[in-house]
């Protein structure tokens, strides 16, 4: 059979498709697999030449050191506190604002929404000096509150946009019905709109969480030491200091990505939804 015929036959096309995509996927996934391997085997094996493709000697030493002996446990905990806090603040303020923009005629509303896009695109490095100053001014340097408030300012623009969009998709008739039944505006918002917009909140929340969990620049500037610094800072410092301890680094890294992977596996639909609706406009 000529190549052309293979290409045009149904089965041939499928095989080719799977082959090409499979090779691509293997290349993309290899670093992740290698990371997990490095976290469960001795360093000599990780850096063996020629490489050992499958781990021979399995060890849980690195995870034990991190979790039980408590090295870097603080960074993980901080990561959770800061990310959950940021997500909560941006969802709280964002759902209200999203509702306001969606349901009311607001003077200069279109302009404000455009400005929010501009804000979202503002490079972090441009605002770190004033953020540093602001946080110091309110005596919030190296505190959870300071870091959460600063990060929420970065996630809010996107949150508002997403939640405005989700609110738009909910028919007004439902709240109006609730209000003729005697509910107040706020009551209708809490009892009718929020439950209906829950999938949107979830998608938006996941995006905000990922953004906060992965942020590096703001935490580096607004924290010092390991009191409130989240995992990204821990990783960056760790890399600089112990450039040779690959097992530990990779164990820490795996622990850092794990929560997002879990979120992703269970909420893939929402993550994809958040991704696709977040970028357009």
């Amino acid at each position: 059979m000529k190549l052309r015929q293979v290409f045009s036959s149904k089965v041939g096309r499928q095989v080719l498709l799977i082959l090409v995509t499979g090779i691509g996927a293997a290349v993309v996934l290899f670093p992740i697999i290698w990371m997990v391997f490095a976290s469960i085997r001795p360093v000599q094996e990780t850096l063996a030449s020629p490489p050992k493709w499958i781990p021979h000697e399995i060890t849980t030493r690195f995870y034990r050191e991190l979790l039980i002996e408590g090295k870097s446990r603080r960074y993980l905990l901080n990561g959770y506190i800061v990310s959950i806090g940021t997500t909560a603040v941006s969802l709280g303020l964002g759902s209200l604002a999203g509702y306001g923009f969606s349901r009311y005629r607001i003077k200069g509303g279109a302009m404000m929404l455009t400005a929010l896009i501009g804000l979202r695109m503002l490079p972090g490095v441009v605002i770190i000096i004033p953020f540093f100053k602001l946080v110091q001014m309110f005596h919030l340097f190296n505190t959870y509150t300071g870091l959460i408030l600063a990060m929420a300012a970065r996630t809010l623009p996107m949150t508002i946009w997403l939640l405005k969009g989700y609110t738009d998709s909910i028919p007004r008739a439902l709240e109006e019905a609730a209000m003729t039944e005697g509910a107040t505006r706020i009551g209708a918002f809490y009892r009718v709109v929020l439950p209906l917009v829950a999938p949107g909140l979830l998608a938006t929340g996941v995006m905000a969480f990922i953004g906060a969990w992965n942020a590096l620049l703001l935490p580096i500037v607004l924290t010092s030491g390991e009191k409130v610094a989240p995992l990204t800072v821990g990783i960056a410092l760790f890399f600089g200091q112990f450039g040779r301890e690959w097992g530990q680094i990779m164990a820490l890294n795996t622990l850092g990505v794990l929560p997002l992977m879990f979120v992703f596996i269970f909420l893939q639909r929402y993550v994809v939804k958040g991704m696709t609706s977040g970028a357009v406009k």
């Binding site: 953020f131 992965n214 992703f264 609706s277 357009v280």
Partner: protein
């Protein structure tokens, strides 16, 4: 109920002479909903921008207690600062290469996944796996690739086996290789975003269009150029413009992998600003560099949108798209 309410409203209206209290409150309550978020953002970001612009005219560093006004001194110094020009060049190369490759790699995977698969589950499974790198922070991605780039690492092994080199190569320590290495890591982490977005765009194209084109005898290439590309263009414009800006301000990988070295070949503008501000403690100068970066970015974005976006994408509906 509704009728009763409006009756009561008119009574109230008569008493107040014109607009009812209720109506006024109703008109106001929209502002109450948006107030917390908008006021907060206006305060924080407004302060930041004004502060940065003001600071750029002052001499202010770790040692000084009271900032002294120096006018345009920093801006003049920027013009003759060799380091910032080389940083600008690095940033430009990094941005252009990364964005183009994001688009190519992400677009390629999107096209593959958009094909007709014999098993939709398999397709979705692979899509899920391909998104995984996007979940990594740049710092985490830096670590993962740091191991691959290691002199005894896998990439070196392949380079030796394929006969490209015989000794160990320091991917991050060689002037010619460091920036390309950073770009590779950047692509690995960012392409899934493009893939998902473009795939979403592709799937929204009605299949009838392709069938009609087929009937008319259009070749696959023609179908791609005439149908696929024009119809996903809005998505491409939106994500690339967003991406250009984010990549232009890139800091994380530089900080974690190379710290700007070797010899400044990976020092992006963002990293340079961070260096002058927080490493050297020269806040005034850092602020001036920030202002210039911001101005360049705004200019570049406007130019890009002028060139690639159609009018309706620029000034069209701002509320749709979700």
């Amino acid at each position: 109920m509704g009728a009763l309410k409006s009756e009561r409203d008119t009574v109230v209206a008569k008493n107040l002479g014109g607009r009812t209290l209720r109506a006024r409150f109703k008109a106001m309550s929209g502002y109450l909903f948006i107030a917390p978020a908008i006021l907060y953002l206006t305060f924080v970001v407004g302060y930041s921008i004004i502060y940065t612009i003001r600071l750029s005219f002052f001499e202010f560093s770790y040692g000084t207690r009271i900032p002294s006004f120096v006018g345009f001194k920093h801006y003049v110094k920027l013009l003759s600062d060799q380091d910032i020009w080389s940083s600008a060049r690095v940033t430009l190369v990094f941005t252009v290469a990364a964005v183009v490759l994001h688009l190519l790699v992400g677009g390629l995977f999107a096209l593959l996944l958009n094909e007709r698969w014999f098993s939709v589950q398999l397709r979705n499974g692979i899509r899920g796996l391909l998104i995984l790198p996007w979940l990594f922070s740049f710092a985490a991605a830096a670590l993962v690739w740091g191991l691959l780039f290691h002199p005894f690492g896998v990439l070196n092994y392949f380079a030796r086996v394929l006969g490209i080199t015989d000794g160990a190569v320091e991917f991050l320590g060689r002037a010619q290789l460091a920036l390309p290495s950073l770009i590779v890591v950047n692509i690995w982490k960012t392409f899934p975003f493009y893939m998902v977005m473009i795939l979403g765009g592709l799937q929204s194209i009605p299949t009838e269009l392709y069938e009609a084109a087929k009937v008319d005898g259009a070749s696959p290439l023609q179908r791609f150029w005439r149908i696929t590309l024009p119809l996903v263009r809005p998505v491409l414009v939106a994500i690339t413009s967003l991406d250009i800006i984010t990549t232009f301000g890139h800091y994380d990988l530089v900080k974690t992998l190379t710290e700007g070295g070797p010899f400044g070949t990976t020092r992006t503008l963002a990293y340079y600003i961070w260096l002058t501000g927080f490493q050297d403690g020269n806040f005034g100068y850092g602020a001036a560099a920030s202002v210039v970066l911001l101005a360049c970015l705004s200019g570049a974005t406007l130019l890009y949108l002028r060139l690639f976006a159609q009018k309706e994408e620029l000034y069209g509906e701002t509320t749709t798209g979700i």
